[in-house]
Subunit: 401 residues, 2 copies
């Protein structure tokens, strides 16, 4: 995707990098030259991703999604780098471009986001409505001479408010600990759903249909909006600005200073913003499993959840900026790139789960839905908030370890 020299320079093995403590392995160049090279390469990648759409009509249809992905990828990197190293570029030019790239990334990415959200929710519904007992009860049935049942007061009790408990059946070698939380179980809903299982399974199916309808509609609209955006003069203005960037980056006078002096300082500021924002997260609480934080106030509306989520989203964005500085500086600056990447993935999961939960709540506000549908949506909402909590847990353990 990028020039061979650039790749070799930007992704060296840590062991192969002769990184001194002061120069940090940065070449003896001007800051603007290093920054400019990165921006030019990303701008070129952006334009290259755009090109086939206009110039190669023979490409398979599937490639449009990949095209959009690559464009967004480069647009995020350009915008993020202009943010972090803003003092080295002409602000009158960089700031508007940054905003326009944000608009572009959002507009082009929305269709993908709705599709991913639908896939996530349908998968979760299948897991919640799958009758297959992946959890597994490897225990043998109670032996006949072990008449605990006589003494067991609870399961044998006829309960007017709940259906009677059933004795454990021998479950044929269901591997315990099989399958992770995310693995969608095969959709066999209702197959074994004995007394009373019917309505719940119907509710799950209807909830799935409702979500599919709403999110497919949203996705279709997002698709139209993206197509419209790509035909707009606003889009072409952004492309023109990126084309300028691909040939020459408008720099400020500060960019003439040595790279080894200026760039690590700005990267350090990005790092400080990240660590400060992450330290402000309730990580101590998040480190405790099952803290119930994400479900707290789940029934009062979006507000408390969104206020929580916003702080985590901010860290997600700052983490992304931090990773781009590593790419610009082209050396391992002491922070493990693998750790940052893992943390970014986890926070991406957090965002997706939180947004999916909000979409479920929105679906539950649809007028005239059946109670069973609403019930299934309630379970699904809690499930997705729980995924968000699991992501916070994972992040807290990654970050504070």
């Amino acid at each position: 995707m990028r020039g061979g020299a650039g790749v070799a320079q930007r992704h060296p093995d840590a062991a192969a990098t002769p990184a001194g403590p002061t120069t940090g392995g940065l070449p003896d160049r001007e800051a603007g030259a290093v920054l400019g090279q990165y921006l030019r390469e990303e701008a070129t990648a952006f334009l290259r991703a755009l090109a086939p759409r206009e110039g190669e009509p023979g490409r398979p249809q599937d490639d449009t999604a990949e095209t959009g992905r690559q464009m967004r990828r480069s647009a995020r990197r350009i915008a993020g780098t202009l943010h972090t190293f803003g003092s080295l570029t002409d602000p009158g030019w960089a700031d508007p471009l940054r905003g326009e790239l944000g608009w572009l990334t959002d507009t082009l990415g929305r269709e993908h986001r709705y599709a991913a959200r639908l896939g996530r929710l349908i998968g979760a519904l299948q897991r919640l409505a799958s009758a297959e007992d992946t959890a597994g009860v490897p225990a043998a049935p109670l032996p006949a001479d072990d008449d605990l049942g006589l003494w067991l007061p609870v399961p044998a009790a006829p309960d007017p408010a709940a259906p009677p408990a059933s004795l454990p059946e021998p479950v044929a070698a269901a591997a315990h600990a099989a399958g992770s939380r995310r693995s969608p179980a095969p959709p066999q809903a209702g197959e074994r759903g004995g007394a009373g299982g019917g309505p719940l399974a119907v509710g799950a199916a209807r909830a799935g249909a409702l979500l599919e309808r709403q999110l497919t509609l949203a996705r279709t609209r997002a698709h139209s909006a993206a197509l419209q955006a790509m035909g707009s003069s606003r889009f072409h203005a952004v492309v023109d600005a990126v084309a300028v960037l691909a040939s020459e980056v408008p720099l400020s006078p500060a960019a003439r200073k040595p790279a080894a002096t200026v760039l690590p300082l700005l990267a350090e500021q990005a790092h400080a913003r990240l660590t400060e924002a992450a330290a402000a997260l309730p990580l101590t609480r998040a480190r405790h499993p099952y803290n119930g934080e994400t479900l707290h106030a789940a029934l009062t509306g979006e507000l408390p959840a969104e206020r929580q989520d916003a702080a985590w989203n901010r860290v997600r964005v700052l983490l992304r900026l931090r990773r781009y500085t590593q790419e610009v500086l082209a050396y391992d600056d002491g922070e493990s790139a693998a750790r940052l990447a893992a943390a970014a993935r986890v926070l991406e999961q957090h965002r997706e789960a939180a947004e999916a939960a909000a979409a479920v709540t929105a679906a539950a506000r649809t007028p005239r839905i059946a109670p069973a549908t609403a019930y299934a949506l309630g379970v699904l909402h809690a499930d997705q908030r729980l995924e968000a909590e699991a992501a916070r847990y994972a992040f807290a353990h990654l970050w504070t370890r």
Copy 2:
């Protein structure tokens, strides 16, 4: 409650016990004598708990709950001990008594269980519907010069399927990590529930009212049933049998063997049954937080969840039996009593949460409930299944550590 000598003998400090490896600290008595002493004491405690109900009408009303609790406590111990050390007693006499004590414990305990279940669910609903942000976002609002907002693609995006995100507000010193999952937050539902919060808060309130109605009805019925049971000839027959036990325990010939020979062996068998049942639990999976096991198949009906829960309940009962053997043997047999007690508490939490979740599902089957109510019940169901999962997690860490 029991004779001073008995207490001193049965609960010695571990350090003060001159426990040899063979006698295990058991006195040089017949097995039947040691077993008989324990059973006589528990039978006496049972009768003493029953006495005030008939003999002291001047006692305050609140004491009836305590009376029932003490009766159940002794009845469980007698039945459990007759189970574990059954070979030492006359089976034609012990087995029917054990069954009758199980009936009694269940009948007398049900009112208490419904009351506890209602309290648990109302507390959970308050937590889920509390607008107070106990989670806390100690982060300051985004500084004005940090215009990440321009670049943040997601929260700023107008989303047709969800209300627009709000910026994080400064939350006044909300202590992070404050409050555990269980602490019910103050009921301030709806106070801050901004756009769209209304219907959800109403749903939570209606779900609470529905559960209160159903569980209060069940509790009232259980109360009547308990009163009726205590006036029945069946109840008086149980009391008579316990009265026999308080004076003389019908033993089998095997009870004449030395206590140090027989009792540890039977206790060891109870221990083996417990460890075997616990080892058959999916503990490896339960040790992973957020494994999603308890929510799996939540929308197919009770069956898979009950099959899972039954295995855990069986361990809960075997754990109880195991603890009673420690009381009978009156010495610390190597297994930490504190650890067993902690594990028992955790499994009791598991049972309560699982039963509460089932009660929520039953409530959701009420005809003609509003969708918002059903949605709230769905969230509440998932919340309680999650409590069950948290209990499994705690047990797995207690047990396999």
